[in-house]
Amino acid sequence: MKTTKSYRPLVSILALMMAGSAMANDVRLDLLTDNSPNSLAAANALVNAYMEENPGVRIEVEVRPGGSEGDNIVRSRLATGSMSDLFFYNSGSLLQALNPSRTLVDLSNEPFMDNVLPSFQSVVEANGGIYGVPAEAGMGGGILYNRDIYAELGLEVPTTWDQFMDNNTVIAEAGYAPVIGTFRDTWTSQLFVLADYFNVMQEDPDFHAEFTAGNRTFAESTPALRSFERMQSVHEAGYFNTNYDSAGYEDGLRMLVEGEGAHYPMLTFAISAIVETFGDQVDNVGFFAQPGDSPDANGLTVWMPGSLYINQDSSHIDEAKDFLAFVASTRGCEVIIDEIGASGPFLIEGCGLPDDVPQPVADMLVYFEDPERNAPALEFLSPVKGPSLEQITVEIGSGIRDARSGAELYDRDVRRQARQLGLDGWN
């Protein structure tokens, strides 16, 4: 009895040592992603598929909140040297605030970057380095609509803003909410402005360059101001649902699918969320680009997906690169399609989509087939994006403020952000 007891500590130490040596063979990486169902599912699927093929590597997925709260977590963890080896984060203007050349691993010389389409490389570039590989499919910003309502009322997909407003009149008379507003989740209110950028570019192809240099403002540019005026015209016509002020994003999806409302201005990542919650009913939903002034120049404003980056302080940079090579291969996008379905075109060479994509995805892909019919959103062409846009569009959409004063206020917001970024020409 006594002897057994005295052996016990020794046995447990031995066990610990064995466990320790087993773990020492495994390389352990951490991957930080945001808590949206899509990103989390995609991250877990990629990690599990990779670990199956590479038994020596263990990757732990860590979760953070999204939105600006998440931005702060990412920035502070990078700044304090406590960032995970790999992390998922936006491309475009938000990436620039991470000081990529000092915090992230430059991937421009990696062979797997040849698989990443140039259009994506340009939105993860900073000071000549290229820092990320796309971890999702590309997206469009535009208008999701209820196909049953359109069929019932005999409406056609509008190719000009006037047709869109005419459709809204018919829809309102039939007793449906023409446009779904979900201002409790303030970010959803920005779409009429942000998804209008294709139309701005048709009239002013250099807007983004002049805007970045501080020479053009929203209030003084006719096409850019029109984006705000469109928001105002929908409010003034009374086309928003009655509970636009207190409804949230998820309410909006439900109202769209169940036919309480006809149009929901939104990013197409919502399609995966609809599939997840409503299954096959996703085929009641269609998609069209936000229409502009001319039917001949009708095209889609495109959002680049978020990206996976490697932290410069990671002690396993080579293993992390190997994982990114996997993500940037056709294997990577197959895993994502298996897990969350096809939600848009991939930015990886050779990644096709299955034939049976959901209806709204098929509607969106049409715009990608013709390079003349799509253009990136402003936030992928310029590092300048004012943080208060969502509050301003809520005000315009609720009638608290008119389009011009909203655009002027946004210009002030933009000027402050540009000064904080230390850009030239903003004093």
């Binding site: 605030a97 000081n99 915090t103 002020d245 943080p387 208060s388 809520v394 608290i400 206020l409 402050r416």
Partner: protein
């Protein structure tokens, strides 16, 4: 209490050399280190960072530019006005309602101690939880409050989504949340008033109203002063409830100073938001110190 502290303070001044001999020097070190690391360093660091352009990755000294930018903030004035509205209405509400409840709960009523605990419960609940709960209750179309009002034939307002009403709705919830603590402090004040005064007043024929205004109110002054001070400071630097309920919205209409600052922080303007915090600290000091001094004046 304050009197006692002041007396010891003046004694200390006189006997300054000998006080050090009470404890050996090393005895002070732990508290000194904690105080220095946790309070002095961050305070002075924030004064410094408020004068820099700070991205977390690097900082550059820019003098008072952040303060200039902060005072040019379009919604600073709105935020400042809302901060004062919020601070003063919640403080007044907590004192008035707290006093009524304290009088009720010190009287000879049935289940008194149970009722005393119930009034204190909201203080124990997380503010964010309260905020989310009331956001649901105050939902203008299907929320419980407006549905109930509808049964009474009243069309309820858009509590949190009307730009002119939102800040008052949040203030109302803050009063509900904080009145328990106010009541508790006031109860302590009321029970310390000797019953002799009331007996004497009754003999002289004073009615309940006169007793309340001539005895209860003046003699509970220290408790009232404490409640006003605490709730005013709480109200002026309020953030969590506003953020949980309206995020400063709709638009910017219920922004308070702290939410203006938080949004700057969220946008990554770290130097700017630090300058805002230094300003907030000064505003609270400027508003609260004279009030505290005034309320404590007659005590000493």
């Amino acid at each position: 209490m304050t009197l006692l502290l002041r007396r010891t303070a003046s004694q200390r001044v006189q006997k300054a050399p000998s006080i050090d001999s009470f404890y050996p020097f090393w005895f002070y070190i732990p508290a000194g280190v904690v105080y220095g690391l946790m309070f002095l360093v961050p305070t002075f660091a924030s004064f410094y960072f408020s004068l820099t352009h700070w991205t977390l990755f690097d900082q550059r000294f820019i003098g008072l530019d952040n303060f200039r930018e902060f005072f040019a903030e379009p919604f600073l004035l709105r935020g400042l006005i809302n901060t004062f509205i919020f601070g003063f209405t919640t403080s007044a509400g907590k004192v008035a309602l707290g006093m009524m409840l304290a009088v009720l709960l010190t009287s000879n009523i049935y289940l008194r101690s149970l009722l005393r605990s119930v009034i204190f419960f909201p203080v124990l609940v997380s503010t964010i939880g309260i905020g989310i709960t009331f956001t649901v209750l105050m939902e203008p179309h299907q929320g419980v409050i407006n549905t109930a009002l509808q049964y009474m034939g009243i069309q309820g307002p858009r509590w949190l989504t009307s730009p002119s009403l939102a800040i008052y709705s949040v203030a109302l919830v803050e009063i509900w949340r904080g009145v328990g603590l106010a009541t508790l402090i006031l109860i302590a004040g009321l029970v310390s008033i000797p019953t002799d005064y009331y007996e004497a007043a009754r003999l002289d024929g004073a009615n309940a109203w006169q007793q309340f205004w001539r005895i209860t109110v003046p003699l509970s002054r220290p408790a009232v002063a404490t409640v006003i001070t605490l709730s005013l400071i709480d109200g002026l630097r309020t953030f969590d409830l506003v953020w949980a309920m309206t995020r400063g919205g709709p638009g910017f209409s219920s922004d308070v100073l702290a939410s203006v600052i938080y949004k700057q922080y969220q946008a990554g303007f770290y130097g700017l938001s630090t300058a805002g915090n230094v300003t907030l600290f000064l505003v609270i000091a400027v508003v609260a110190l004279p009030i505290v001094a005034y309320l404590n004046r007659e005590e000493s």
